[in-house]
């Protein structure tokens, strides 16, 4: 028989009180975990969005009037010479490598060979646009390099059929296909040429949904724009590539083009989200502290009710330290139960309410959150027990017997 066994027996005997106290801790922990889980999921979603758009660079002709082309803001009657692309690639890659060096990073992200510094080259996907008609509707006809485009627009998914492969094939955006009642395999006329519909894209919530796509040379030839591109989408092939430096280098070093990225906007959105999330966590921590005070009251009451037991144990030879250990073990058990229970409730709330609060959020099971839940519950339970235990342990036996 040792002190841990006595603590276990005492907790076992007071099942309802243990559960009642643990449930107070569990509710506070559940609140904390559900907030962190949903918020963390949202933050991750936002980070992915930043990574998606933040590492994407668009290079346009410097004089582009963004209100042209049916208000899509995707080009105009100005073009970038196709043979300028290798130079743009060179400027871009150099800026990325220098950007990494400026961060003292080891430049061997992928494809590291021997002792040679190597960064995976970015994908440059050029497009040329033309305004035309399809089945009597005004449309934007885009010439693309399909494989490069598919890499650069990594959110593209083919809904039916496949990507265009041949010069007599086209691919349609989802909304355009629906609006014109066009299906894979149909033959359609554009600017006097007949094309077979090879594929239809899934909806992307972007101007691509309203466009028709053919290979770059096809559109260039059909609209007399050989050697010209309307814009170039650049996708960096590393997660944290310093595209800001590349953007700056292109804008400062290449005449006639303008590079833009959405990283700044996305970063600002992330900062706002982070501030809101921090505020919410602050409120949750306040709620946690209030719950701890309630637990403190419960434990205070519980130990007061057991004061004669404290007197008995002292008469039997228990020292202050041994009694304190006994109460702390009990508190730890209550904390452990409360922490695990709170984690399960918190994750349950996150699964139920997360999709309502943030529809696109993916709720994940994180082991770190289990540790956080148990740690917070243990800390709260032990802290709440400290003072009542100190008071109970310091009562002299005769005072303890007289107390009730």
């Amino acid at each position: 028989m040792n002190i841990i066994q006595i603590a276990l027996r005492e907790v076992g005997r007071r099942k309802m009180r243990t559960l009642y106290t643990a449930s107070g801790i569990a509710l506070a922990v559940a609140l904390l975990i559900s907030t962190i889980t949903v918020g963390g999921g949202g933050y991750q979603d936002l980070t992915q969005t930043i990574n998606r758009y933040g590492h994407q660079l668009t290079i346009l002709p410097a004089t582009t009037n963004e209100t042209s082309l049916q208000g899509f803001g995707i080009g105009g009657e100005h073009y970038i010479p196709e043979d300028a692309i290798p130079h743009l690639q060179e400027v871009y890659e150099q800026a990325i490598v220098e950007g990494w060096r400026a961060r003292d990073a080891l430049i061997l992200i992928e494809g590291f060979i021997g002792d040679q510094e190597q960064v995976d080259p970015a994908t440059f996907a050029p497009r040329v646009y033309a305004e035309t008609e399809l089945k009597g509707r005004d449309i934007v006809f885009a010439g693309i390099e399909p494989r490069k485009e598919y890499i650069a627009k990594f959110w593209w998914e083919v809904d039916a059929g496949n990507l265009v492969r041949r010069d007599d094939e086209i691919m349609l955006g989802k909304i355009l296909a629906s609006a014109t009642r066009t299906q894979v395999g149909d033959e359609v006329d554009i600017a006097g040429e007949t094309y077979r519909v090879a594929g239809i894209l899934q909806e992307t919530n972007s101007p691509d949904d309203y466009m028709a796509f053919a290979t770059l040379p096809t559109v260039q030839r059909a609209f007399n724009r050989e050697g010209q591109v309307s814009l170039i989408s650049v996708r960096a092939m590393c997660a944290y590539c310093p595209v800001g430096e590349a953007e700056l280098a292109i804008n400062q070093g290449v005449v006639g083009v303008r590079a833009t990225s959405q990283r700044d906007i996305a970063a600002a959105q992330a900062a706002i989200f982070s501030n809101v999330f921090t505020t919410v966590v602050g409120f949750v921590i306040m709620a946690f502290v209030i719950a701890c005070m309630a637990v403190f009251n419960m434990i205070m009451g519980s130990l007061h009710a057991r004061i004669r037991e404290v007197g008995l144990l002292k008469v039997l030879g228990a020292s202050h330290a041994q009694l304190a250990r006994l109460f702390m073990y009990e508190a730890a058990l209550i904390g452990l139960v409360g922490g695990l229970l709170g984690y399960l409730i918190g994750v349950g709330i996150a699964y139920l309410l997360g999709p309502i609060v943030m529809p696109d959020v993916v709720i994940r099971w994180e082991w770190e959150h289990v540790a956080l839940a148990v740690g917070a519950a243990l800390g709260a339970s032990l802290l709440a027990t400290l003072y009542p235990a100190f008071r109970a342990c310091n009562a002299r036996p005769v005072e303890a017997f007289r107390a009730l």
């Binding site: 028989m1 005997r13 004669r308 039997l316 020292s319 202050h320």
Partner: protein, 225 residues
């Protein structure tokens, strides 16, 4: 007489708000080794206070309390802890067993707080044998009768092998049959060399002890041997 307990000019005053109540007033008392002593008197006469001072669980307002050759009224809490662990044992009116533990675990309880945990179970079983409850060793407290619970609490005092057993109205809550079982047990323990001081209201028990001290208004009145 070889005294195991000596009280020299002991007074105990309690404060009740502005008022002071003298529970004991200048008491001189010696208890010899192997004695079996009853302390009797009306409620509030100071019997339990006297017992608490002998056991070191309370301190006198003035005077000296000696346990064998050690003055205990001036000891620190830590030193008193050692006295309670090894030299003095208590039997209370209501047995005061831990309801979460079974009979043998209650008997082992003093060893949970001191050295010698290794053979505690064997020793506890022997103590239960001495009070005739070895077959009830694994029974929970709520499964024991009042008399059995009190016998378990006596077995618990024996675990310490104390110099002195103090019993505060140990038969107060029991029926006659159980009361006499406890009385016979105390007599047997005294015969085996244990020093016992018990507080009681029961005239019959008082008369069966070897020495009966009557107390009133905080002062011993007379002794009947």
């Amino acid at each position: 007489m070889d005294p195991i307990v000596q009280l020299k000019g002991v007074s105990k005053v309690y404060k009740a708000g502005e008022e002071q109540v003298a529970a004991l007033d200048d008491v001189d008392l010696d208890i010899g080794r192997n004695e079996y002593v009853a302390i009797m008197g009306p409620s509030g006469s100071g019997k339990s206070t006297l017992l608490n001072l002998m056991g070191g669980i309370d301190r006198p307002t003035s005077g000296e309390v000696w346990l064998a050759d050690q003055r205990i009224d001036q000891l620190s809490e830590r030193q008193l802890l050692e006295v309670r662990r090894r030299r003095v044992s208590y039997v209370f009116q209501d047995a005061r067993l831990m309801p979460s533990l079974n009979a043998i675990e209650n008997v082992m309880l003093p060893r949970a707080f001191s050295a010698g945990r290794a053979d505690a179970r064997t020793a506890a079983l022997q103590c239960l044998e001495r009070v005739g409850l070895e077959k009830r060793a694994k029974h929970m407290v709520h499964e024991l009768s009042g008399g059995e619970a009190q016998r378990v609490s006596i077995a618990r005092t024996l675990m310490k092998e104390p110099d002195l057993i103090l019993a505060d109205e140990p038969t107060g809550n029991l029926d006659r049959k159980s009361r006499m079982e406890i009385v016979y047990l105390f007599e047997e323990l005294n015969t085996m060399g244990n020093t016992i001081v018990l507080v009681t209201h029961d005239q019959e028990i008082g008369e069966r002890t070897r020495r009966c001290i009557r107390i009133d208004d905080g002062r011993p009145l007379q002794e009947a041997a």
